[in-house]
Every structure is written in structure tokens, then in C-alpha cells.
């Protein structure tokens, strides 16, 4: 098997794998929010930024190659990841104390992981639209980080309910229905798209606050541990399926 090095550690890879896939399969966590092993990478959150032979690249889209020297945890990159996380917090409206995703949210857990104690930048306090029209699913755009996971999940299950519209600071999540309302879309409560949101932007109604504080996903375990436990096996499975296919 060909290998590259990640912070000096040898990482074997199958040709065609990205740096992210190879690292995760080898049990090395690379921070990410918009990547999920079962979907095409989106490359937008930039938290997986690594230096490949000295050049800044997104590990989720960059193909692994023999002999690459990849740096993940330099002081510079850790600082970059902290600032990116803070930017995600200030560009939306994230009030964790009364968010139903708190304790189970990947953005919040990433904040803990990168040691974020403040938001550094001035807050935008943007005005975004909340859509409560669906009987089973709530869309709270205040917490959307534009990761595009709901877009990909819905597309892959043949429904195309969500799309990201606009560019840069104008980016916003739109819903595919005559009224633009979630209640008039084809989204079902059991769709993957209703459950894939890493933050509290798409939440299934009547499920909030069921898990008590102290027993929530990230109360005692880091996003790195949880990601390696839950996502790394999916990378391996996806790869095995490709081999057979």
C-alpha cells in the first residue's frame, strides 16, 4: 500500500482516497463539519485545512498521493481552525443555552475541541427566517452553517428538498416547494436530510431536550473520539463496497 505522512506518522491509503478518508480509516481525526463519509465532499467549511507539501489544502477533497508530507496540527493551523470556528459562530445566531441541539451539536463540540472560549470577532446578529411550517421538522436558519449536508442527503435520496442559494455573505438555505416553505416540500421526518444537520438548524420536532445534561453526546467525549467511533467505520465500509462494486 502507498503511504503519505501526517504530522510524521505513516498513513497508508488506497489510490483514489482523499487525505481525509485515509486519515480517518487509519484512526486519525481531522476536524470537519461539512464532510460526512457517505456523501460527496463539499470542501466549504475549511476546518480540515492541512498543509500538503507546504501548501494549504482541504483534506476532504485533496487526493492522497505517495510520499506527501501532510501537516495537520501545527500551531498555525490550530490557530486557523480556532478563527474559522469563531467566524461560524459570529455569522449566525448561536445561543447555545437555549438551543435544542446543545450538547449534541458538532459546531459546539468543535468549539470545545479547539479550545474556543470567546468569539473574537464582532457579531453579525443577522436576521434570518425561521420556518416552522412542517408538522414534524423545524428549520431554524439562525443556526445554519451552510455545510450543504442536508442538500446532499436530500439529493441522494432523490428528493432535492434543500439548496444553498446566493454567494459569500448572501448565502442562504432555500427549500424546494411552491411556497418556499418546508411544510409544502416533500421532506419526510424519516428522511436522512431531516437528521443529517450537524447543528441545530434542522431539528425533528418533539425530540428536544430528551437527553439530560451530563448524558449528551459531547458532555464527556470529544468530537474527535465520537467522529472516529462513528464515522471512521463508514469510510472503511464505503471503501470495501467500492472494491466489491
Amino acid at each position: 500500500m502507498p503511504i503519505f505522512t501526517l504530522d510524521g506518522q505513516n498513513i497508508p491509503f488506497e489510490p483514489g482516497q482523499t487525505i481525509m478518508e485515509a486519515a480517518m480509516a487509519a484512526g486519525v481525526y481531522i476536524p470537519h463539519l461539512c464532510w460526512y463519509p457517505e456523501y460527496e465532499p463539499h470542501g466549504s467549511c475549511k476546518l480540515c485545512s492541512v498543509k500538503v507539501n507546504g501548501r494549504l489544502c482541504s483534506a476532504c477533497t485533496f487526493p492522497a498521493a505517495e510520499g506527501q508530507e501532510v501537516v495537520l496540527n501545527s500551531e498555525e493551523l490550530q490557530q486557523l481552525r480556532l478563527r474559522l470556528t469563531q467566524m461560524l459562530f459570529v455569522e449566525g445566531n448561536h445561543f447555545c443555552p437555549y438551543c435544542e441541539k446543545s450538547g449534541q451539536c458538532e459546531l459546539q463540540a468543535l468549539g470545545y475541541y479547539v479550545g474556543m472560549t470567546d468569539n473574537h470577532f464582532p457579531h453579525f446578529f443577522p436576521k434570518r427566517e425561521i420556518d416552522a411550517s412542517h408538522p414534524d421538522v423545524l428549520l431554524d436558519r439562525d443556526r445554519c452553517i451552510f455545510c450543504g449536508l442536508c442538500v446532499r442527503a436530500s439529493r441522494d435520496e432523490g428528493k432535492h428538498v434543500f439548496e444553498l442559494a446566493g454567494r459569500g455573505i448572501e448565502t442562504h438555505l432555500i427549500v424546494n416547494s411552491a411556497t418556499g416553505k418546508l411544510g409544502d416540500s416533500e421532506l419526510g421526518a424519516s428522511d436522512r436530510a431531516a437528521h443529517i444537520c450537524p447543528v441545530g438548524a434542522i431539528v425533528v420536532k418533539e425530540t428536544a431536550f430528551r437527553v439530560p445534561i451530563g448524558r449528551r453526546k459531547y458532555d464527556h467525549r470529544t468530537i474527535a473520539e465520537m467522529s472516529l467511533e462513528e464515522e471512521a467505520p463508514l469510510v472503511r465500509r464505503r471503501h470495501d463496497a467500492k472494491e466489491e462494486g
Partner: protein, 180 residues
């Protein structure tokens, strides 16, 4: 010779005093704190303006003109200024009004709201004027350290405070950093 005591000031701006309550939850460690620190301006002492202090703890965001004044006074008087709690760090619950027009908020609260009697917007000159928006404290003055949480746990507050008193960079274990 006994070590010189550190001077600590605390205040609550647009907050709910929950962070101060959590601070009190250090329980018997309050005695230890009393041995190494003196309290300057604080809701616990009722001193009205801040003297030269080593550490200032600020709870709550900035929602009116008086908050701005107190916060600047703290920055001028405290060598190390610490933002404590969600409201100080990102505006918190009071910042919910940021998506509305201030005039509409006052009208809803004092004129058209349910159960309002004698509908008038309070205008006593003693009342501090509200700002157009609620701001986190770091948007108004330089903040040296922040303790997240709503409120931060007593252990979190104690860890940061004692680290700072000892002259160390605060070092919080995973479970002590919480945003809720």
C-alpha cells in the same frame, strides 16, 4: 511576610446575576478566596465605583449607556478583565432583541403588550438610555480572558480565578468548557 492580597471587582451588566450565583457556588472555597483576595466594587460589597484592581469579572452584555460606562470603568481600573458567561461573550438572551427594532420592543413591552396598564414608555431621566442593539463586551473594550457557560460552573470559575491569581494562563479541562 504574608503575600499581598489580590483585589477583585465584579459586576453584572445586561445579565441575570446567574454567573454571580454560580460564583457563590464555590461554597467553602469562598473562605479560601477571602484569605487571598479582597473584593472591591461588586454586588456583594455595594462599593459604587471601582478602585485599582488586579482582576475584574464582568457578567452580562452591553444593552444601555450605563453598561458602557461601568464596563469602561472596569477596563480602566482592572489589570486583567475577564468576561464571564454567555451574555458577556455573545449577548445571550438579551441579544434576542437584536432582530427587532428598539422602538417596537418598547411599544410591545409598555404600550400594546398583554396586561399592560397605564401604557407609557418609562422616561425618567434616572433610567439609562437603551442602546440600539445589545453587544458582547469584547465589542466595547479589550477583554483578556473569557469564561463561557450559562452560567459557567463554580469549578470553571474557580479554576480560572485561581490560575489568574497564581499568575498562570487559565487551563480548563474538557468538561469545564461549556457554552450552555
Amino acid at each position: 511576610m504574608p503575600k499581598k492580597k489580590v483585589r477583585i471587582a465584579t459586576t453584572s451588566l445586561a445579565g441575570c446575576f446567574g454567573c454571580h450565583m454560580s460564583f457563590m457556588d464555590i461554597d467553602e472555597r469562598l473562605l479560601e478566596l477571602a484569605g487571598i483576595a479582597d473584593l472591591d466594587r461588586s454586588p456583594l460589597t455595594d462599593i459604587k465605583s471601582c478602585n485599582e484592581c488586579d482582576i475584574g469579572l464582568v457578567e452580562g452584555g452591553v444593552c444601555n449607556a450605563e453598561n458602557v460606562h461601568v464596563l469602561r470603568e472596569f477596563r480602566n481600573s482592572c489589570r486583567i478583565l475577564v468576561a464571564i458567561g454567555a451574555c458577556a461573550i455573545n449577548g445571550g438572551v438579551p441579544a434576542l432583541r437584536n432582530r427587532f427594532d428598539l422602538g417596537d420592543c418598547l411599544e410591545e413591552a409598555f404600550i400594546t403588550g398583554i396586561g399592560v396598564t397605564d401604557p407609557t414608555v418609562p422616561g425618567d431621566p434616572e433610567l439609562p438610555l437603551l442602546l440600539e442593539k445589545v453587544h458582547p463586551v469584547h465589542e466595547v473594550v479589550k477583554i483578556d480572558y473569557s469564561i463561557p457557560g450559562c452560567p459557567p460552573s463554580a469549578d470553571t470559575i474557580w479554576t480560572v480565578l485561581t490560575d489568574l491569581i497564581d499568575g498562570n494562563e487559565p487551563d480548563l479541562a474538557y468538561e469545564l468548557i461549556r457554552y450552555d
